[in-house]
């Protein structure tokens, strides 16, 4: 809220001299954050009050131009001629005149200048030129009692300090001069004068005032009407009010509207003025009805909702309560008789309505944050009196009031609650004093308990903690000490949390760059990824309000986002990429998850209820994905580089699984979005489960094309959540026995049909060794390594040759050549049995 210091000082008379910076600091210190301080009007120099003596109409121009003789004092030499493009003034009017050398807001300098063949010796100013609103249409005509020759900025009170206060949603009362001045007075310990004042003497309900009624007490519990009659349509809003409205960022509209707005700013009570002569029948407040419509002041016809709160007369809805008035009953400047409405509407009701219609007004902002429910009568009395006095009308005596009972809030707190929350010893006296300054009535009960009744303007004070906060806030947070945090017995990261870091470090260590890609996607991605119609990854979560209509879905795979990131980088001159991301994806259950329950908040949900939440949420596994494109090794002075290959993607998956120590198998498979002949599936078969944890390999050429990447782009994606879970089942590593006996190696080359995966051959070799000498055989094989793959004539048609080195070592002796030969032969025999492998060569075991 924008608020001028001068207005606050009227009700919080701070001792002179007032330091505007200190005022700002104090307000911020008590939770009314000052976002900006503007010293307004300080720039305005050399603008004085002048009288128009003569007007010469210059003709022959595109628009009417006047050449005016003005005077700024009594002596003839204080006359000067100025050009003026406005026509809303007459001889004898008083106007603000910028003399040559004057400065206007925005630093604009005024000089003498030639225009339309005349010398203009200054400028008559409009309201806009003086930063008093956006009205450029005419110049600002001043009241007849403005002192001729006076400094205009001084006379109009233009020099002021305006604070932009960031009012948090809990502090509805601070959206007014009244509320801010009260806080300021409390912060500076000066008496506060309440601008709401008292009701006029003898004020009482009167049947002659337009009758009000409440149709729905849940929508409105205070509904007051007052009337002013006989307003002079020619009456204009006085300059002082216009200046303040402008300072608070509001436009001047018409006298009646300006008066209600002015008092809304001062008191915090939004009010609405109706043209009485356009009303029909009694006024009521009720909910909207199906099919009802209302054209609001902004010329929008709005379809009303049964939850809306509306003001009606016998013609139907005439205003959206506390939000925006209807066009038909608008109080125009021609209105003579005015009905003023002041009410207390349901805060959630107004909040819902304004959101439903996307209609946010100064009034709705206040109502939804909570307005003083005892203010409607007092505010409307002030409004009626002010309008009558400024408009030359008269107040119709009395009022009409409909009301529903409001249960006052009573809060009991222990007197030392603020002390216990803040860790500060305020003492009961301070607590009571601060609560009373906030407007609470406080009774001290036996045993140091306080019985507190918050004031009508503080609907936010409902709980003991609200009262504790009030005291702590006003006392200042700088009183709070610093206690060194106690050490608690934490267990550090869980194994899964550690693993996630290890995986990220391992991938970064092997040359992958971590990125965060957009989690949003679209239906198009499924096609680009070649996902079949029944693929689970097509069951994406849809957003009701996506940032972009093109991307309404949450990702079900990391790969589309990573591929887009790769494409973007390639476009920026980085065609050689190894990227990775760790992040959640979102998979709806088949048929979609149901809605999540909305439970009460006064107690914890039970186990069954927590299950309902879980069931309503989509699966959100954490995945790790990699994309590789271009060269993985650059060319350089050492020679040619190397293109990425599917084996790099597969190795990335091995890196992740290796960090987890989960046992896994690699199988050839076909899975989208990978190349059907170049895709590896990673399966964990352990702990009584068989879980596919992901895939790696070269992407399908059509996928690469759809994402506009270089041929042979490769990718990997693993379910890190599943791996984390399985890793939790892996027992700790058992330290190995390090044998000091010599190693014996034996190389074997086996011819196998091309389609046989190397991994199967290796498994068979290992199994073969294990079959020898029972468990003793297993201990013999220290390692096995495929060192050559050969496809050629010598391997035989349709075959490939796989060459392995077997490393044997015994824990307790030097192996004999015979022992090694037996183990090797058993390995080869098992490979032959399982895969049809034929031994091509078996060099002698060499120690």
């Amino acid at each position: 809220m924008l608020v001028p210091l001068s207005w606050l000082l009227e009700y919080a008379p701070l001792p002179e001299p007032v330091d505007p910076a200190e005022v700002g600091r104090r307000l911020t210190g008590i939770g009314l954050e000052i976002e900006a301080v503007e010293h307004v009007g300080a720039q305005i120099r050399g603008v004085v009050v002048a009288r128009v003596l003569e007007i010469e109409e210059l003709t022959g121009h595109k628009k009417p131009i006047r050449y005016c003789l003005v005077i700024t004092g009594e002596r003839p030499e204080e006359q000067r001629w100025v050009i003026c493009g406005a026509t809303n003034f007459a001889v004898g009017d008083l106007v603000p005149l910028a003399l040559p050398g004057a400065t206007l807001p925005g630093g604009i300098s005024i000089g003498s200048r030639k225009a339309y063949g005349k010398l203009s010796d200054g400028m008559i100013c409009s309201a806009a030129e003086l930063a008093l609103g956006d009205d450029h249409s005419g110049i600002l005509v001043l009241p007849a009692d403005a002192p001729l020759g006076a400094d205009f900025a001084e006379y109009a009170g233009l020099r002021d300090v305006v604070y932009d206060v960031n009012v948090t949603p809990d502090k509805g009362h601070a959206l007014s001069v009244r509320g801010l001045a009260r806080e300021l007075a409390s912060a500076f310990a000066v008496p506060f004068a309440d601008p709401a004042g008292e009701l006029p003497a003898g004020d009482k309900p009167d049947p002659r005032v337009y009758q009000a009624s409440i149709g729905d007490p849940s929508a409105c519990d205070r509904f007051a009407l007052r009337e002013v009659s006989g307003i002079d349509p020619a009456a204009v809003t006085p300059l002082s009010i216009r200046v303040r409205l402008a300072r608070c960022g509001m436009r001047s509209v018409s006298l009646a509207v300006d008066v209600t707005n002015y008092l809304m700013l001062e008191l915090g009570q939004p009010m609405h003025a109706f043209d009485r002569d356009r009303l029909q029948g009694p006024i009521a407040v009720r909910r909207g009805r199906e099919g009802e419509k209302l054209e609001t002041l902004d010329h929008v016809v709005r379809q009303l909702d049964p939850d809306d709160i509306v003001i009606t007369d016998s013609s139907g809805p005439i205003s959206m309560a506390g939000t925006m008035g209807g066009l038909a009953t608008e109080v125009s400047s021609a209105a003579v008789n005015v009905v003023i409405e002041a009410a207390h509407f349901s805060a959630p009701g107004i909040a819902r309505m304004s959101r439903r219609h996307r209609l946010f007004s100064e009034a709705s902002a206040r109502f939804e944050r909570g307005v003083d429910y005892e203010l409607p009568l007092r505010a409307s009395a002030k409004a009626a009196a002010l309008l009558a006095s400024l408009g030359g009308g008269s107040v119709v005596a009395g009022y009409s009031l409909a009301s529903a009972p409001i249960e006052p809030v009573t809060i009991e707190i222990a007197g030392d609650l603020p002390d216990r929350v803040a860790g500060v010893s305020y003492g009961a006296d301070t607590v009571v004093r601060r609560l009373r300054e906030a407007g609470c009535s406080v009774a001290v009960d036996a045993g140091d308990r306080l019985v507190v009744r918050p004031p009508s303007w503080r609907p936010d004070l409902t709980d003991p903690s609200d009262l504790a906060e009030e005291v702590i806030r006003i006392e200042g947070y700088d009183k709070i000490g610093i206690a060194m945090p106690r050490a608690v017995a934490g267990h550090g990261r869980t194994a899964a949390q550690r693993l996630r870091i290890e995986v990220a470090q391992a991938l970064a260590g092997s040359g992958f760059v971590e990125v965060i890609s957009s989690p949003f996607g679209s239906q198009d991605d499924f096609g680009k990824m070649q996902l079949p119609a029944d693929d689970a990854r097509r069951r994406a979560v849809r957003l009701a309000n996506p940032i972009s209509g093109d991307e309404p879905l949450m990702r079900t795979s990391l790969l589309p986002g990573l591929l887009r990131v790769a494409w973007r980088n390639a476009g920026r001159g980085f065609p050689d990429l190894a990227l990775f991301e760790i992040g959640q994806v979102f998979l709806e259950a088949e048929g979609g998850c149901g809605a999540a329950p909305v439970l009460p908040v006064d107690h914890a949900p039970g186990k069954a209820e927590v299950k309902r939440f879980d069931a309503a949420l989509p699966a959100q596994p954490r995945l790790v994905g990699c994309v590789l494109t271009g060269k993985i090794e650059t060319s350089g002075w050492w020679g040619e580089g190397r293109q990425v290959s599917l084996y790099d993607a597969i190795e990335a998956a091995r890196t992740v699984l290796g960090a987890s120590r989960v046992p896994y198998e690699v199988l050839a498979s076909q899975a989208e979005p990978w190349h059907p002949g170049r895709c590896a599936t990673f399966v964990v078969s352990a702990f009584g489960e068989e879980v596919v944890v992901g895939h790696a390999g070269e992407l399908h050429p059509r996928v690469i094309g759809a994402f506009r990447l270089a041929p042979r782009t490769c990718a990997m994606e693993l379910d890190l959540s599943a791996i984390e879970r399985l890793a939790g089942l892996v027992p700790p590593v058992q330290a190995p026995f390090i044998s000091g006996y010599p190693v014996a190696t034996s190389d074997v080359a086996l011819a196998v049909p091309s389609a046989v995966p190397a991994a199967r051959v290796q498994e068979a070799l290992v199994a073969g060794v294990r079959s020898v000498a029972g468990s003793h055989g297993a201990a013999l094989l220290e390692g096995i390594r495929l060192f050559d793959v050969y496809r050629g004539e010598q391997a035989g048609a349709g075959n490939k040759s796989l060459a392995y080195t077997l490393r044997f070592r015994a824990p307790d002796r030097t192996l004999t050549d015979e022992e090694v030969a037996i183990a090797r032969d058993a390995a080869v025999a098992e490979a032959a049995r399982r895969t049809g492998a034929v031994l091509r060569s078996a060099p002698d075991a060499s120690a």
Binding site: I30, A351, Y477, E514, G592
Partner: protein, 372 residues
């Protein structure tokens, strides 16, 4: 005195005469020292110490000398051989040293050549900073709590004391999940903060609870230099008996000193969050100018010469939140704090444009390498 030995042939044994041995020795020494290569040295050795060298041939004659002359001749020849042997070994060492010297010079490599055959990898600074922030709290005994990114509204709002129609819900532009078959209400949102993890922690963990929850959050903000629909927060929560705002300040100042430097002061100012009461925003003394810019020192770009930098929000857990988690607010109290990780990157690492964190440009992550 010995008797004259008539058995020797004076002609054949002239080679063993002292002068002759000396001559052979000199010739040998000259050849060895003059050898300029291993080949020449080898030649010299063969010529002067080899089986057919005059000295060796001469030594074969010793047996022919009269017994009284044998010892002397043997000594003389042996001494000559020893000297030649030593000279050869010495020369051999010299030649080897020369060779080594030459080889090491010849084999000098340009150690400044690049070897960037494989580009280096990097972690994302947001992820690294999240880990590092969490480390600070883990060191203080906290554990890491986690929760889903698509969250039930009850966890994201209701349980955190955001009443259904309260404007506080409007403070956060929320992404709502569409209902089944296009229904407007699903009761689910993309979590707008990591605070729902607080609720999950309080519901699932035994008291006392000390947790931090780093994670991804979402707000329906249009992307600009300081707003991103996807961002990261880390929140801390402590629920225990007798916790006060002083404990909260202590936790925050310990964290600020760990992250930004020792001795930095922190300041709390009232603010509003539905789930804490009282609530505060946390500023820390500018880690660059230490507040000097606000006291008339030279201007500071980091704190815009304010001396203080806003870094976090915090407060005492609202008793209503404790109630929603079934915790007895008369016995337990709690505090919570949260900060934006991107915001920390802006303050700590000078990040100017938040878009860089989700753009995926490899230059961004690479600049941070493996340690932000």
């Amino acid at each position: 005195m010995s008797a004259p030995n008539k058995a020797y042939d004076p002609v054949r044994v002239t080679a063993l005469a002292p002068a002759e041995v000396q001559r052979m020795l000199d010739a040998g020494l000259a050849a060895i020292s003059g050898a300029g290569s291993f080949d020449e040295l080898k030649e010299a050795r063969l010529a002067h110490l080899g089986g057919r060298s005059p000295l060796v041939l001469a030594s074969a004659e010793i047996g022919a000398l009269p017994p009284e002359a044998k010892a002397e001749a043997g000594r003389r020849v042996g001494e000559a051989k020893r000297l030649l042997g030593e000279a050869h070994a010495g020369r051999q060492r010299e030649l080897e040293a020369d060779r080594d010297q030459r080889v090491l010079v010849d084999e000098v490599a340009d150690v400044t050549l690049p070897w960037d055959r494989r580009a280096s990898g990097a972690r994302h600074p947001v992820a690294m900073l999240a880990d590092r922030l969490a480390d600070v709290f883990i060191g203080m005994g906290y554990e890491i709590a986690e929760g889903p990114e698509i969250e039930a509204e009850w966890y994201n709002f209701d349980a955190l004391n955001f009443p259904p129609d309260h404007p506080a819900r409007e403070m956060q532009d929320t992404f709502f999940v569409a209902g089944r078959d296009g229904a407007a209400h699903s009761g689910k949102v993309l979590r707008t903060h990591t605070s729902p993890v607080q609720i999950r922690a309080m519901l699932s963990r035994p008291l006392p609870v000390y947790v931090v929850s780093p994670g991804k959050c979402f707000r329906a903000d249009a992307l600009d230099a300081t707003h991103s629909p996807v961002f990261h927060q880390i929140e801390g929560l402590a629920v225990d008996e007798g916790l006060t705002m002083a404990d909260l300040r202590g936790a925050i100042s310990a964290f600020v000193e760990a992250m930004f430097g020792p001795g930095l002061r922190t300041r709390l100012r009232p603010d509003f969050f539905p789930f804490t009461e009282p609530s505060a925003d946390v500023s820390m003394e500018c880690h660059v100018c230490r507040g000097a810019s606000a006291r008339g020192g030279s201007p500071c770009r980091v704190c815009k010469s304010q001396g203080w930098i806003e870094i976090a929000g915090c407060g005492m857990v609202n008793p209503r939140v404790l109630a929603a988690c079934g915790i007895d607010a008369d016995r337990y109290s709690g505090f919570a704090f949260g900060l934006g990780i991107e915001r920390s990157l802006m303050i700590r690492n000078g990040l100017a444009d938040i878009r860089d964190t989700i753009d995926g440009d490899v230059r961004f992550s690479r600049a941070f390498g493996a340690e932000a």
